[in-house]
Every structure is written in C-alpha cells, then in structure tokens.
C-alpha cells in the first residue's frame, strides 16, 4: 500500500521540524524505502500502516527513529574522532621511527563505504607525513555502487556537514554545482578496490595500519573470527588495527591485544607475531 498524501505530509512535517530538511512531494519513494525496515521491525506489513500508527501514537522515540532513518544514511568524516587523532599523534610517529629505511606507509580502509574514511586518512597523512616519505591508502568495499561513489569523491552539502572541519572543507574540496568534490591531491594516494572480507582475500603487500571499523558487528562469532584472520594476514607484525568502538577481538582472536593509542585504543599482534590462530585455519 502506497503512502497517502496526508501520511507523506505528516512524515515530511516531522523531518522538517526536527532537522530542517525539506522532503518535497516526489520523495515518497525515499520515505517508503527508508521506513520499510522500521515498519517490519514493528511487525507491520506496510509503511502506510507504520505511519498511521506513528500518527495515532506519537512517541518521541519512534519519531526519532523515523527522522534518523530519513536523514542519517551518510557516514561522517573523522568518524569517532579519536582514531584519527591517534593516527596523527601516536601511530604514524611510531611507524616512521620503524620505517626509516623504506620510508613508506601503507594503510587499509577495509570497509570504506562512500569514501569518508579513506579521504579522512588522506587528510591526516597529508598534514603529517614529510614529503620525502611515501604513503598509500587502499580503500575496499564489497559494494560496487559504494566504491563508484567513493572513487568519484563527490559529496552533497548534507554529507560534507557531517564531521568535516570547515578548514578541511575549504582546503581539500572544491564546489561542484550543489556538491563538493575532493581535490586531486587528496585523492592521489588512494587506490579503490572491490573486496569481500568474508571470502578469501587477494594477495597484497601487508599494511602498517588497518581500519576495520563497524564491520564485525554485522557478523556472527565464527565469521568474525575468519574475517579477523584474513584481515590480520595482511597486517604487518608490528602494525596497528582499528576496530569500531563497539567491537573487540576479545574472545574471538587471542593473537591480538588491545593497546592504548592516543586517547583511544587499537589492537596489535601479541609479541609482534603474525601467526595463524589455533583452531581457526582458513578453509578458503
């Protein structure tokens, strides 16, 4: 059942009141697509019935979920803040002290989505890595659509509002009509590749830092274990692994230990050894 004009007006009014975002007529498809998961979670067969219920029983929590669903699909820049501060203040200095011969750093953004994470890493490294050094950022995602978006480096006004410091916006982006496009310099060190972390990974040179954030939360324990095993095979023995704030290796892969990194924590291989975990051999 499609949304009625009255139901659409109710939702657009709610979103406008709470976020100042205007959903014009014609965006009914967007409302239906974004609210369908909420309708299903509520045990209702259609968005129309879900909206009717929200109108009859206006609960603040439900209203917030509706507004979030319609406004927060964008991931943010400098997401969670501290890992990027730790990268700048602790990890890159540590690695530069260890890599004086090669003068090369390799970073992997392992589920890069629409690209905010690898571009944020590029902003951080661009500010602190000396010109005599080289750095590479490999950005991967399972979704071809997301990779295309990430590679294009073109973001809406709503997207650049999300966590991107204004001075970084003016330094690293150019206006492109209604959107903002990343500068060639920011884009240059990044290579985008499609990669499914739940399948055997291609052979790649190992990385000094891996960002694997907010990925494991979607998997069961066995899959988490096999993903961690695959990903860690691409981590240099003295490298650093970042997980999401709600994620851990504890009870999943005991080769890792949690260590302080700036004002947050990261994971490193115990004793700097990268060996296959007991009882969790890759089956391919």
């Amino acid at each position: 059942m499609s949304l009625t004009a009255q139901e659409f007006a109710y939702i657009s009014g709610l979103v406008r009141r709470d976020s100042a975002i205007v959903l014009d007529t014609g965006k009914e498809y967007l409302v239906e697509a974004r609210l369908l998961p909420l309708a299903r979670q509520s045990g209702l067969p259609s968005v129309s019935e879900f909206v009717s219920r929200a109108q009859q029983r206006p609960e603040p929590d439900l209203h917030r979920k509706i507004v979030d669903a319609l406004t927060t699909n964008e991931t943010s820049w400098f997401r969670d803040g501290e890992p990027f501060a730790a990268l700048a203040t602790t990890i890159v200095p540590d690695l530069m002290a260890r890599r004086t011969g090669a003068r090369n750093l390799r970073i992997w953004s392992a589920a890069c989505s629409s690209g905010q994470e690898p571009y944020t890493i590029s902003m951080v490294l661009g500010d602190i890595v000396p010109a005599a050094w080289n750095y590479e950022i490999v950005a991967t995602d399972i979704s071809t659509e997301m990779l295309t978006r990430a590679e294009a480096g073109c973001y809406s006004q709503l997207e650049v509002n999300r966590g991107l410091p204004a001075n970084m916006l003016v330094r690293h982006f150019e206006r492109d009509g209604a959107n903002w496009r990343v500068s060639p310099a920011l884009r240059k060190p990044i290579t985008f590749k499609r990669m499914n972390l739940a399948a055997p990974l291609p052979v790649l040179p190992q990385f000094d830092v891996i960002f694997l954030r907010n990925v494991l939360i979607y998997f069961d324990v066995e899959t988490k274990r096999s993903v961690l095993q695959r990903v860690s095979s691409l981590l240099r023995p003295d490298g650093w692994l970042f997980l999401g704030a709600a994620e851990t290796t504890l009870g999943i892969d005991d080769r890792f230990e949690r260590v302080p990194a700036g004002r947050t924590s990261a994971y490193r291989l115990r004793d700097g050894k990268n060996t296959a975990p007991t009882g969790a051999q890759e089956k391919g």
Binding site: R17, D18, S19, A20, I21, V22, V67, T71, T72, E74, S76, F78, D80, G81, E82, Q157, L158, V160, N161, R162, G163, P165, A166, N167, L169, V170, F173, E174, R175, A245
Partner: protein, 128 residues
C-alpha cells in the same frame, strides 16, 4: 553550559534550541547580531557557544563574529556559523573573521552534534 542561538528565523531558532537543549545546554536566543550583543553585554557570564546565522537584519552574523572576536571579554565563546551561505569564499571569510566552525543549511541534527564534538563541547557519540 550555555549556548546562544542567533537567527532571524523563529523556526530555525526552535530547531537549534531543541538540539542544543538535548545536548544539555541552557539556551538563550536572539534574532540578530545586535540583539545578541545586547544580551551578551547584559549577561553575568558569556555563553560557551554561539550558533550564528549569517543573513540577519540590523547586524549580520559575520559582523557579530567580528565584534565578538574583537572583545576580550568574549574570548571563551566558541562561534559556529549555521547558514545557507555555502560558497567556499564565504566559509573562508567567516573562519578568517574568527568563526571556529561552519555548518551549511540544511543540516541534520547529527551534523551539529559532530561539529560540537570536533570543538570539544560535547563528547564523541553524543546524541541530540
């Protein structure tokens, strides 16, 4: 913590008041830069945060930011522009005048929260 919302749109003031209020700020409001300066002059303690629109009658947001930055009594106020003005050159002007951050309308509540987290005024992961 005290925040001042400065915008000539009553609807926008309500939205920003709600967001700041949910983050634990006590919120006062002004409809233009001059009114905001008058409120500051009358206040015992200046606010920690001002959310400032650009286009307003009497005194616009850029003039307000410039006036606040020129007054040592208001050194502790973090100034964040929240405006429809979205040209790169305007952002540069506002930052040069002393604005600490800049949000372009329209925005999501998360955008305000994340910028305030960048400024150290709310913790990372705060929700409005």
């Amino acid at each position: 913590m005290h925040a001042m919302v400065i915008d000539d749109s009553r609807a926008m003031r309500l939205i920003l008041k709600r967001i700041a209020g949910q983050l634990g700020f006590e919120v006062s409001e002004a409809a233009n830069g001059k009114e905001a300066l008058d409120l500051l002059a009358a206040a015992d303690n200046p606010p920690e945060l001002a959310l400032v629109d650009w286009n307003m009658p009497e005194m616009n947001g850029l003039e307000f930011v410039t006036a606040v930055r020129a007054d040592p009594r208001y050194r502790g106020i973090t100034l964040m522009m929240v405006t429809t003005e979205g040209e790169q050159s305007q952002i540069v002007r506002a930052l040069a005048a002393g604005a600490h951050e800049y949000v372009i309308k329209p925005f999501t509540p998360d955008a305000i929260v994340e910028k305030l987290a960048l400024l150290g005024l709310v913790p990372n992961g705060a929700v409005a």
